[in-house]
């Protein structure tokens, strides 16, 4: 028994005297306790930790937190505590203060949370400043409606957005500004504002526009002249080695790009409004460049998400002319054209307000040029009408973009006068593909009920925000083609269009890229470039026999001739087959 005790690792220490006496003393409790504690406090030779501290720390944590079923997670607690204690040997950064994540944001937002500095005294009458009306842009008011419609951004963001819009209208020549929406990119997002500029600003921009268009034509002419010059020079350059005297001319590109419609001037059609974007509240607003018809056409043919960097190149086929900045502008134009809708009667054609409604309607129905303005006598349709599934009471108030990439059709055929005659001739030689028949889209203020359905998907889904409290319900319209595009109208004169999405249109069933154009022929097909099989040994032999010197008597010669003739024919036939 004594031996057993000794073997146990002498948990209970026994006095040698007592052992000698052969009797076991009662265990000394205090002594045992001290001994066990000392054992638990023994530091690990590897980490310097000891079990006693560890256990007390765990028990301390568990007792203070008192989690449920803690025994199931005991190992997890154990690990957590150990992890916390762990300090890498190379960690010298411990004393450096790490700014909390919100620090950066706080710095960004603080300028908005201060009152605006008083404006410098100026002689201009405040009314002449034509500053944009901000009464409808209290984003917190708007947020209340957004929330009812199931949309929203954090309150902080909305509030600071209002403040930054206030700053923007002081800095830029804006007459109207509106929150357009938010586009979610892969790395960063875009907040988008829609703004109308002052008339002088548009005029200033369009001066440059005309100049640019003229330059284009000049460029075209000079390009053409240069090309002709090069063609004439070509043989002379090639004359170096005599060996290549018969070298065919360099193949020419047969494909001619169809004439590019000019982009619409600022303040008209697609470029009627300008857009300001920024990644986060607090970043400076960046104005997007105007969209060109080509950008809009190509944006329809590609399918790319936004990354959040305006200068990101768009890698696509067909090649998109421009960076993400232009792509964003083109998509915004498409979304605005497709999804900006208003309750029936909110907008009217400009003439109607003055009592010549009927005359004007006919005129405006024909072409899209009719200007619209807010109806001063607007009588909002009832919520029942607005949530009607036929969408009869919602109308488009933005111009449809034609396939050409413009809202108004541009005739490609008559070239501007005064260009080289050669250019004109080339045009005439080409068969007219497009024809002079102008494209037309639906007129302004067409009801949404006339929108096409795409593969059994209706264009719009309409909901009432509340089934319980109909008195306060808001009509919500969601676009099924542009997921994320919403329109809502409260019972009153408030309505708003907003976009919260990735900026991509629905593709049914899914996107398929344009096929590459057929490969062009380098040279017209002819005997020079045809590949012909080499004659076989046997064929060469028969040819040789057929063309032997005429030494044989005339009788046999005739036979040979016939033979040779047949073979020659055979050869020809073979060649034909090879073709």
């Amino acid at each position: 028994m004594i031996n057993d005790l000794a073997n146990l690792g002498s948990i209970i220490e026994i006095n040698p005297e007592e052992r000698d006496l052969g009797r076991v003393a009662l265990p000394n409790e205090e002594h045992e306790f001290v001994y066990a504690k000392a054992f638990l406090q023994k530091n690990s030779t590897v980490t310097g930790e000891n079990l006693y501290d560890h256990l007390s720390e765990i028990l301390n944590k568990i007792l203070s937190e008192r989690p449920e079923n803690v025994v199931d997670f005991f190992e997890e607690y154990c690990r957590k505590i150990k992890e916390k204690r762990f300090r890498p040997l190379t960690d010298h950064l411990e004393d450096i203060y790490v700014a909390p994540g919100r620090y950066r944001l706080a710095n960004k937002l603080l300028p908005f949370l201060r009152p605006l500095p008083p404006e410098a005294p100026s002689t201009v009458d405040p009314e002449d400043l034509e500053r944009a009306d901000m009464t409808k842009n209290n984003m917190l008011d708007l947020l209340a409606y957004f929330e009812i419609a199931g949309l929203g951004l954090p309150r902080l963001e909305m509030f600071c957005l209002t403040m930054s819009m206030r700053q923007l209208i002081r800095a830029e020549p804006i007459t109207r500004v509106r929150f357009w929406g938010k586009i979610f990119g892969m790395h960063k997002n875009y907040l988008v504002l829609e703004a109308d500029l002052k008339d002088e600003e548009y005029v200033k921009r369009n001066e440059n526009y005309n100049a640019a268009a003229d330059n284009k034509i000049d460029d075209l002419v000079t390009d053409h002249l240069e090309q002709m010059k090069r063609e004439q020079e070509l043989p002379a350059e090639d004359a170096l080695p005599q060996l290549w005297a018969t070298l065919p001319p360099t193949p020419r590109i047969q494909y001619e790009e169809p004439p590019e419609p000019p982009s619409e001037p600022s303040g008209v059609g697609v470029n009627k409004t300008v857009y300001y974007v920024c990644n986060e509240v607090g970043d400076p607003w960046v104005q997007l460049p105007d969209a060109t018809p080509k950008q809009i056409r190509i944006a329809r043919q590609i399918y790319k998400t936004f990354t959040g960097d305006l200068n990101q190149a768009i890698v696509s086929y067909p090649l998109f002319p421009g960076t993400e900045r232009n792509y964003l502008r083109a998509q915004i134009a498409r979304i605005s054209a497709g999804t900006h809708i208003s309750p029936l009667g909110f907008y009217i054609f400009a003439g109607e307000a003055f009592g010549e409604a009927e005359e004007f309607e006919e005129g405006a129905g024909g072409d899209n040029k009719g200007d619209i303005s807010e109806n001063p006598k607007y009588d909002p349709p009832s919520i029942k009408d607005l949530t009607d599934k036929s969408m009869m009471f919602w109308v488009h108030h933005n111009n449809h973009i034609l396939n050409q990439g413009r809202t108004t059709w541009w005739n490609s055929n008559p070239l501007p006068e005064g260009i080289d005659e050669e250019l004109g001739e080339e045009e005439e030689e080409k068969p007219v593909i497009a024809g002079p028949e102008p494209e037309t889209g639906p007129a302004l203020l067409t009801p949404c009920s006339e929108d096409v359905t795409l593969d059994a998907i209706p264009a719009w889904s309409v909901r009432s925000s509340s089934d319980i409290a109909e008195e306060y319900a808001v009509a919500i319209v969601k676009s099924n083609f542009w997921p994320g595009a919403y329109g809502f109208a409260a019972q009153g004169k408030t309505f708003h269009n907003v976009y919260f999405g990735s900026g991509l249109k629905v593709m049914v069933p899914n996107f398929s890229p344009n096929p590459l154009p057929p490969v062009e022929q380098d040279y017209p097909l002819g005997p020079e470039i045809m590949e012909i099989l080499d004659p076989t040994g046997a064929e060469e032999e028969t040819w040789r026999i057929a063309h032997l010197p005429k030494e044989l008597p005339p009788k046999e010669l005739r036979g040979e001739d016939e033979l040779g003739g047949e073979e020659a024919e055979e050869e020809e036939e073979e060649e034909d087959e090879d073709d």
């Binding site: 919100r102 963001e157 790319k304 889904s461 919260f500």
Partner: protein, 290 residues
């Protein structure tokens, strides 16, 4: 999304733009509590909303013992009356990816699904186009199944495999650190693991059998199909997958709060390869050599 968070989603909307409206949230909160009580669920979650042209489907799920294997799904078209979502049938799983139209909102509706010539979902290539019938309820359950398989996510450490093999929510989970939250390897698929049990363990240094029993999302193909974004205040990390637009996973960094919501049309986006500029560096070198 945990039931308690349903009422306050506006703080999460920065990277997403959507909220659960007050009315919707109140109805959900109460009707789901009743559902939880009737079924004796330990926890109940709001899963999301699938948009239909006429009506929306609301989906919820709860579990009694096992947070992964024991989940039961419910659906509703009005948030009030919840019906048990049937288990996805093999037939529906084959037909659902071929449906491209939107949901309509009527579970009893029978859809015609057109199988094109040479379609191989049902074994041999079809000699001629064929039309098959599919009930919308079955399509819904298959869609929810696919989204769970491919897009549902939990942060690493949030689920814990107990010694008896039961998977529970980890009481000791304290949230990912801001550094961890920026890496896709710290997010795991909330599904029965498909890879070999040790795949996830072998790919990390600080492996732990109890929490690394799921597949991590960083091996999904193609690279970049998951986007990790932090909100401006760096408090919430948001994960989105390009395959299922509308799927939104959030995690409040350094807290155990996490969850996911799906607000979408229920149609998978197959165009992901076109989105990514995978070959971009090559193309750039080609066009603009330095």
């Amino acid at each position: 999304m945990d039931l308690d968070e349903v009422l306050d989603t506006i703080h999460l909307s920065e990277q997403w733009g959507h909220v659960i409206t007050t009315e919707e949230g109140l109805i959900l909160h109460n009707s789901l509590l009743i559902l939880q009580n009737e079924n004796h669920f330990r926890r109940i979650f709001f899963w999301g909303r699938i948009r239909g042209t006429d009506n929306d489907y609301y989906i919820a799920f709860g579990y009694r013992t096992d947070a992964l294997l024991d989940r039961t799904f419910y659906y509703s078209t009005n948030c009030l009356n919840w019906g048990l979502l049937p288990l996805p049938t093999e037939y529906a799983k084959k037909l659902t990816p071929l449906c491209t139209a939107m949901f309509q909102g009527d579970p009893a509706l029978v859809l015609d699904v057109l199988l094109e010539k040479d379609e191989i979902s049902f074994g041999d290539p079809l000699p001629e186009p064929q039309v098959k019938k599919l009930k919308e309820e079955d399509r819904l359950s298959a869609t929810v199944f696919f989204i769970n398989e491919e897009a549902a996510v939990v942060p690493r450490g949030a689920l814990y495999k107990r010694a008896d093999g039961v998977i529970v929510h980890n009481l000791a989970f304290e949230g990912l650190t801001p550094v961890e939250a920026r890496e896709t390897i710290c997010f795991l698929h909330y599904r029965v693991p498909k890879q070999k049990w040790n795949t996830n363990l072998l790919t990390r240094d600080d492996y732990n059998v109890a929490i690394d029993f799921l597949d991590s999302v960083d091996v999904d193909i193609p690279e970049g199909c998951w986007t990790v974004n932090m909100t401006a205040s760096e408090e919430v990390v948001v994960l989105k997958t390009l395959y299922w637009p509308g799927m939104f996973f959030y995690h409040w960094v350094k807290t155990p709060k996490h969850g996911f919501l799906y607000f979408g049309t229920g149609v998978k986006c197959l165009d992901v390869p076109f989105f990514l500029n995978g070959l971009y560096p090559v193309v750039e070198d080609f066009f603009h050599p330095k």
